[in-house]
């Protein structure tokens, strides 16, 4: 169980984490979602005690990491797979970590096998591929057989096989009753793995809900309709309670009405329809819109789509 209470971290003028409160529960995969620069890594660094909070607290099993009796046996983390001394062999890297928590050499061999690194155990890790480095980082996180695991963007840069391995591993770990806390900036990745979501933007909590709730609240049902009389239909749809967006070329996206309602409106008012179809805003798009106002750096890409800040559901 990880608990953050009013967690705040300021670096100079930058408020990286702003009054964040959440808890991560055991037995499921909790996705930690936010655009790049939202404060995910900073939050994880605060959990691990690498950085000290400016205000607020974060505890692991009720204690700050520094006060855990056996830190590795309670929490394992993969923050940055490159955070190893490349001149040290995989075996010695894991051994020096294991020894701090009185873990045996036998356990080092076990996690090397688990991560599929047995054959390269004696090789220096500077020659490792990205995927092997990631496996070494995960082996380190698993060394103490901890009940809580944290992974920061674990699939970044991995090939499909590596991504699948990590996904299955996380699911297996959660199924064993462990707390799995995994960050990502990709909603699609979370859709595939997470049970619960904590969404942040600009260091603030945006949503704390299950993935299903997030999808229900944010992937809005819309109706795509094409008509030679768009102005007339737009007025009628708006009067009926829909929100209308002109997509150009006679196409309108109506939100808040179902296709039957739009079709009936058109029929009753003798408006010709050339196309009528239900449409889903993708979850990725919902996430983009949800966090749009909280992205730290906007790329200068022209984008004339209107922004709909979504406030439905359990949004904090």
């Amino acid at each position: 169980m990880i608990e953050a209470r009013s967690l705040t971290k300021r670096y100079g003028d930058t408020l990286a984490v702003d009054n964040l409160s959440f808890s991560v529960e055991p037995g499921k995969i909790t996705g930690f979602l936010g655009p790049n620069g939202a404060g995910k890594t900073t939050t994880m660094r605060l959990i691990l005690g690498l950085d000290r909070p400016t205000r607020g607290t974060v505890t692991v099993n009720g204690k700050t990491l520094e006060h855990l009796a056996w830190p590795m046996r309670e929490v394992g983390a993969l923050l940055d797979a490159k955070a190893v001394h490349g001149g040290r062999s995989a075996y010695n890297h894991l051994l020096c970590l294991a020894q701090t928590n009185n873990l045996s050499e036998h356990r080092v061999d076990e996690v090397l096998a688990l991560a599929g690194l047995k054959d390269v155990a004696r090789k220096r890790s500077k020659g490792f591929s990205l995927g092997m480095g990631q496996r070494l980082g995960i082996a380190a996180a698993l060394l103490g057989d901890p009940a809580i695991l944290m992974f920061d963007e674990p699939v970044n840069g991995l090939d499909p096989e590596g991504i699948l391995w990590i996904r299955n591993l996380m699911k297996a770990l959660a199924a064993e009753g462990r707390t799995v806390f995994v960050s990502s900036h990709l909603m699609s990745e979370m859709e595939n793995t997470a049970d619960h979501l904590i969404v942040i933007g600009r260091g603030r909590l945006i949503a704390d809900c299950t993935v299903d709730e997030f999808i229900a609240a944010n992937s809005r049902q819309t109706v795509r309709v094409r008509t030679p009389q768009p102005d007339q239909l737009a007025k009628l749809a708006a009067a009926a309670g829909g929100t209308v967006r002109d997509d150009g070329d006679g196409v309108m996206i109506v939100q808040g009405l179902v296709p039957a309602q739009v079709g009936d409106l058109a029929f009753e008012n003798s408006i010709r329809l050339h196309e009528l179809a239900p449409a889903h805003a993708s979850l990725e798009q919902a996430f983009m819109e949800l966090t749009a106002s909280s992205v730290e750096f906007h790329a200068g890409i022209p984008d004339d789509r209107p922004r709909h800040p979504a406030h439905a559901g359990k949004v904090a």
């Binding site: 037995g27 005690g49 690498l50 309670e74 940055d80 955070a83 928590n101 009940a147």
Partner: protein, 296 residues
């Protein structure tokens, strides 16, 4: 495991395990071996060369010329030989340790690397998330490096001494460990190297940057010492040059292995070495303070 309830052994992760971990770290990277090998070779080699130079000096003089080949007055040769032989014999131990002048720079490199390589590779973040008690990590690292530096320093110092004496003995100007102050000089050489390394270890923790820590270490130990030989002292009658010179880190620290007091250096060996240890302690305490306080 069947659930989230874990059974952990009694006690807590502490100093002993971290000590073993830090020993694994230092023995499992090649840079340790290369640096220590370079230390031994430099100290022994330069000491041997310098000892050989002293025997050549004595041979020239007994051959009737000065070092530069100018003839000595015939009546002065015997006296000059006796004088130079006595001078060499009385400082035979520190002559054989002359290589420490370069050796100190090499142990500075290793002392800095022990801590700065964790920062340059990012390993420190992994280390701290497995052992978050920073004082424990810092102490274990310092003890392991200090022990490695001391053992290597002592081996180096004794090796340089024996090789140097073997060369000096060809002209019968060597000394032995049975002579007064010689054991202190040779053991002192090892202590000096270890404390140089620890000073650099402290600087490494303060600066967290390899090049910065090494440059600062070399600046303190070597450049200050060279400058002290070139710069004029403060106005006389105020306080003398020697009053400043003796506080220069190298001058203070090397009293313990410089068998012969070299005039500018009024500190007695153990006092001078104590001052030097004080500098190292200041760097280490500053490092510990910052390590505990700063974000990693």
């Amino acid at each position: 495991m069947g659930g989230a309830v874990m059974h952990h052994p009694a006690g807590r992760a502490g100093f002993l395990g971290t000590l073993r971990s830090e020993f694994t770290k230092i023995r499992s990277v090649r840079s340790t071996y290369w640096t220590l090998l370079a230390l031994v070779i430099a100290c022994v080699g330069i000491g041997a060369l310098f000892s050989w130079g002293q025997t050549q000096r004595l041979m020239r003089i007994s051959g009737g010329t000065t070092l530069r080949g100018r003839p000595l007055p015939p009546g002065a040769v015997a006296g000059a030989v006796a004088h130079v032989a006595a001078e060499i014999r009385s400082s035979a131990a520190s002559i054989s340790l002359f290589g420490l002048l370069i050796g100190q720079l090499i142990i500075i490199v290793l002392g800095a690397l022990v801590i700065t390589s964790e920062y340059s590779t990012g390993m420190i973040r992994t280390s701290l998330s497995t052992m978050p008690r920073r004082g424990t990590i810092f102490a274990a690292k310092g003890v392991v490096f200090g022990a490695v530096a001391l053992v290597t320093g002592l081996v180096t110092s004794f090796l340089a001494f024996f090789v140097g004496q073997a060369i000096l003995s060809t002209q019968h100007v060597s000394t032995t460990l049975g002579q007064p102050d010689v054991p202190r000089t040779v053991i002192g050489g090892g202590l000096f190297l270890a404390v140089c390394g620890l000073l650099s270890f402290g600087l490494g923790m303060v600066l967290r940057h390899t090049a910065g820590a090494i440059a600062t270490g070399i600046g303190l130990m070597f450049v200050l010492w060279i400058l002290s030989g070139f710069l004029p002292g403060p106005p006389s009658g105020w306080f003398g040059q020697a009053d400043i010179d003796k506080w220069i880190p190298f001058n203070a620290g090397s009293t313990i292995w410089e068998h012969q007091a070299n005039g500018i250096n009024p500190f007695s060996p153990w006092i001078g070495f104590g001052v030097f240890c004080g500098y190292a302690a200041a760097a280490i305490i500053a490092g510990l303070f910052l390590f505990r306080k700063r974000d990693a």
